[in-house]
Amino acid sequence: MSVDFKVVSHFASDLRDRAAIAGIGATEFSKDSGRSEMRLAVEAVTAALEDAGLEPADVDGYSVFSMDNNPAIEVNRQIGGGDLRFFGRVHYGGGAACATVLQAAMAVATGVANTVVCYRAMNERSMQRFGAGVQDRRPMPTAESAHFGWYAPYGLLTPASWVAMSARRYMHEYGATSEDFGRVSVADRKHAATNPAAWFYQQPISLEDHQRSRWIIDPLRLLDCCQESDGAVAVVVTSAERARDLRQPPAMIRAAAQGASHEQQMMTGFYADRITGLPEMGLVAQQLYATAGLTPDDIQTAIIYDHFTPFVLIQLEEFGFCKKGEAKDFIRDGNIELGGRLPINTHGGQLGEAYIHGMNGINEAVRQVRGTAVNPVKDVEHVVVTAGTGVPTSGLILGRD
């Protein structure tokens, strides 16, 4: 695969291989967990610590989503954690996923903390569905509230609707079709079908199923939209040296980065000269490759954030796996399925496994590096992971020690 993709070296940071993911944990994924978000959080966090072979008292830092409803101090008190020296929250929805690991890695690389836990716990399906849209919000004279005022009075109220507006323009400019979007769902569901932890375990779909699924917001069909899920996922980040002494082979954080473009909007990037790209993800990709000293050719598998299928295509382009506008051709050749050039979302993604704001994808990347994934990709050296798209975002490259 050769794409004219130039890595810009001045984007390199000093983070390469300074920290590692030493432990991962998760609850089951469901539509109604039947327990509190706080309980989901402590279950996932203690599972991740157990996986790493660490004690709750070893934890001295947290890095979590600002959207998570469970304060880190509360989680820490519940699990009997230690005194905390670092606690940060990252904003902008699912864009925070890999950024929690970035900030944890920065904390351990600089000695600010030794053991930092990142988690996301939510009863998103049974308690607070994002897909229901931003109805019933009381208008406040704040910037974030005013932002919705440009869309809500017209009925542009849901994440799907915001993505659909960009997707339509992308289809117009590059000739991508609804079927091209559907191929992402088909790949994800194929991978979920062999993952017992996936909600859609043993339920693959065909492209015809996708095309028959109803409109949510034309051009997006039901099967272009990720699930809504209850569940929790946690990871434990510590220094590379310490990780080598722990229970699991470390998943080295070869690179981690955040990105927001100079014209960044929150899901409604409708105003830039071109709206068919995700420049913030391009910025993340540049930093990741530069920091890791890698190119797209060095990546064997990727977890591509898939809340809505069109942005998977655009991310493949931003990461240089194919040229701008050519993702439809890249995925048409089966490249993103197991056995293809770049199998993506081998756990089933958020369309197939569960929607835990991207954190379940980080767990899968760790399993691919360890060689314990249920759908293992052969000879994995490096895995790309991306976070929420259409928003200020983040990404990781994880690799073997």
């Binding site: 897909g131 229901a132 849209g133 931003v134 109805q135 919000r137 208008p139 406040m140 004279p141 704040t142 910037a143 509230s145 005013a146 932002h147 919705f148 005022g149 440009w150 869309y151 809500a152 009075p153 017209y154 009925g155 542009l156 109220l157 849901t158 609707s161 659909a164 507006m165 960009s166 339509r168 323009r169 117009h172 109803r214 409109w215 949510i216 917001i217 034309d218 051009p219 039901l222 409604t268 409708f270 105003y271 709206i275």
Partner: protein, 319 residues
């Protein structure tokens, strides 16, 4: 005239007692099949409704219909909205007057049925309606409103009155606190309102006055959505420039799900590139979704989407 009376009350009280619409005769006589269906639905095992042998020996001397099934006999059945509207009574009506006066929400509060005799298979009912009473303006937990009592008379094939029904409802102007309760009784909700602050007030004031205003820095840079500072020259000074309203469709979506009141679906939402160069999100109206194309010429208009609420909308440019 009592002091509390208002022109609205006066008008409404002139209409009380008068029939509402024409009397309406049931499509079918009282019959065993519908009785059985009803008894199955509410699991009523009373044998006088369905067991001819038992019924014959009973006080009734034969099958009778459940009295509480009264209304079912004259229900119109399945109709399209158009048919229903075509059959709605014309002319002034108390409910319409209340709607027009802003008492748009409705909740049923009481239903009283009195039966003169049990109905038997073969009875053919004719129903007539009138407004029996309208209350003074009342303050209720749901909001300020009027209680309206409708009187319905059921007559048989001989013109004998067999039953009456009084149906009492509250027509009210919802308060913010009652919004939740209103959701159950009355469907109409308003479109989400924008958050208005120092940076965007000019835009929404402009829309209310029928003008499409775009923020323009004195350096010439147009900005939408607006903000306090010009990203080109850092000026905090700006003016509101009126856009000509012409533009083209840059992108669009057709919303189907989830249905969020009060929007009607499918809902066509467009990203318009204005002739001046900025883009803005709005609805495209008076057009079928299949007819929309990227690049299509559109123009702004200002619709009163709700009472006293003007919203920017776009339509296909003519010519």
């Amino acid at each position: 005239m009592k002091k509390s009376e208002t022109p609205l009350l006066d008008q409404m009280r002139q209409l009380t007692g008068a029939p509402v619409g024409e009397p309406n005769t049931a499509r079918d006589p009282v019959n065993q099949a519908m009785i059985r269906h009803w008894c199955d639905a509410v699991d009523d095992r009373n044998p006088v409704y369905t067991d001819p042998e038992f019924a014959e020996k009973s006080v009734h001397g034969g099958i009778v219909a459940p009295p509480t099934m009264l209304q079912a006999w004259t229900m119109p059945g399945l109709m399209s909205r158009e048919e229903r509207e075509a059959r709605a009574p014309r002319g002034p009506s108390v409910l319409r007057l209340l709607d027009e006066a802003g008492f748009t929400s409705v909740v049923a509060t009481n239903c009283t049925q009195a039966y003169k005799r049990y109905l038997r298979p073969g009875d053919l009912l004719t129903v007539s309606h009138s407004i029996e009473a309208v209350s003074d303006e009342k303050k209720t937990a749901l909001g300020v409103g009027h209680f309206v009592t409708q009187l319905t008379c059921y007559r048989d094939q001989n013109g004998e009155e067999v039953a009456t029904m009084r149906f009492r409802l509250l027509k009210f102007r919802p308060t913010e606190r009652s919004a939740g309760a209103e959701r159950r009784g009355a469907p109409k909700r308003s479109r989400p309102v924008p958050s208005i602050n120092h940076d965007n007030r000019f835009f929404w004031d402009g829309v209310q006055a029928g003008r499409l205003l775009i923020q323009r820095c004195f350096c010439g840079k147009l900005r939408h959505p607006p903000g306090p500072m010009c990203p080109v020259c850092r000026s905090l000074e700006w003016e509101a420039a009126e856009a000509c309203g012409r533009g083209t469709v840059y992108s669009y979506v057709v919303a189907h799900h989830p249905p969020i009141p009060p929007f009607e679906y499918p809902n066509l939402i467009v990203l318009v590139e204005l002739e001046e160069g900025v883009r803005i999100v709005s609805n495209l109206v008076d057009i079928e979704p299949e007819e929309v194309e990227i690049g299509m010429a559109v123009r702004a208009r200002f619709d009163e989407v709700e009472p006293d609420r003007i919203l920017l909308q776009f339509e296909r440019a003519k010519g």
